[in-house]
Symmetry: C2
């Protein structure tokens, strides 16, 4: 069996997220598996690097699959390009070791969240940025973000409930930059809970509005209560940028 | 009467072009006039800087209109932002002299055409670039473009037929740049005939493929026959960038 690793970009705007679901055809995994299965004449099962929420985008999502299909990776790329919808693109396919697993082997992931902080919307980026006209204070956001760096229990930063699984994660860095009113928040960590990046962003937005101080963010972490943290930021501003192995 | 000048950006993807038409509601002019008329309680008529084809975008389209409405331009901006569709944005409104006319007073216009010249489509730019996998030779395109600079009869570069109007126009410059496989062709001229920029781009693409030499482009100009020039490049890659007065 060959083990093939794919780098995928997708505009998640109209999709219900990465993971295949029974009640909808609109998932990234479902779309790609369907084309791969037709191509290989096998029931291909993709292993993704993780779930992405409904409406979230990806620049470099990683997945792998096993196949007996003998086609060259170039031929596969051409086939996928031909049959996948326009909003899903395969950037590369490469042969990897049998033991490679797109989810288990993840060392860290990088997400970016884009906020159009100008007064008016940008007609060309309206599907790829969250528009917020109230000016955010970048320095306040940066100070607040520093509290989250390191290993913490992020229970306040997920909408996951009643789970026995650990909610401890490590955030390696958060960079916040601004150019021409476009704010880009980059978050890198060893793993993320359900909705975690969007709740972090929602919390940093509150900090940027002056509603939360770094000590408040510390308190939110310690309280371990979802309702203490900021609101869930809109999906359309979020991109999975890179996965590190 | 006040004379107000607007700077407009629009994603033209789903529209039938700038100009109002009887048989469709999907024009930029139609959409904006409807909101302006509601706002001013007058039958507002917009004077646009020119037509743009179905599917063509604009970063800074200029239009003006006369009104007795006493609202401040800031209030007007907020109103338009509230009621216009997401893919049409008003960037500014300013008071101008009574004699200002958005079409008659145009000195020159700048268009850009974007070509994704990478092997695969870009999922995030698919509606704003023309995707062409065959590698284009930038130098050949630049050489060919130089033939078009200056004042010429551009009859071969329009789909307009049987017109008594002059087809003589002046191209001031054509810049062609490339970054990460994205080709950007910038064309500035004193005026453009129907489809002229897209036929120029279609012709430069032929040059970039090695199918036309600068002497061929000279011949195309001289022949004054539409079928001698290159094909019409797709609308979605074209943006009206600026209008100079």
């Amino acid at each position: 069996m060959r083990n093939l690793k794919m780098k995928i970009s997708y505009d998640g705007f109209k999709y219900k997220g990465w993971q295949k679901q029974k009640d909808t055809d609109l998932t990234i995994q479902g779309k790609i598996e369907a084309v791969l299965s037709k191509m290989t004449e096998e029931a291909v099962q993709l292993v993704g690097c993780g779930r992405t929420d409904s409406g979230v985008h990806a620049e470099n999502y990683i997945a792998n699959f096993h196949t007996k299909c003998a086609l060259s990776t170039d031929t596969m790329l051409d086939y996928l390009y031909e049959y996948l919808p326009e909003d899903i693109g395969i950037k590369s396919i490469e042969e990897v070791a049998e033991r490679f697993h797109a989810r288990y082997n993840v060392k860290s992931k990088t997400y970016v969240y884009k906020i159009n902080n100008n007064k008016f919307r940008d007609v060309f980026n309206r599907k790829y940025t969250y528009h917020l006209a109230d000016k955010l204070n970048l320095m306040k956001m940066r100070y607040a973000s520093q509290v989250l760096i390191g290993t913490h229990d992020f229970q306040s930063f997920t909408n996951l409930r009643n789970s026995d699984k650990s909610t401890i994660r490590t955030i390696n860095y958060i960079n916040i930059d601004e150019k021409d009113g476009l704010l880009v928040i980059e978050v890198n960590g060893n793993g993320f809970l359900w909705n975690m990046v969007r709740i972090i962003v929602g919390t940093l937005i509150e900090a940027g509005k002056g509603n939360l101080k770094p000590t408040d963010v510390e308190k939110i972490l310690n309280e371990k209560k979802r309702w203490e943290a900021g609101p869930l930021a809109q999906a359309k501003g979020l991109f999975l940028r890179d996965v590190e192995y």
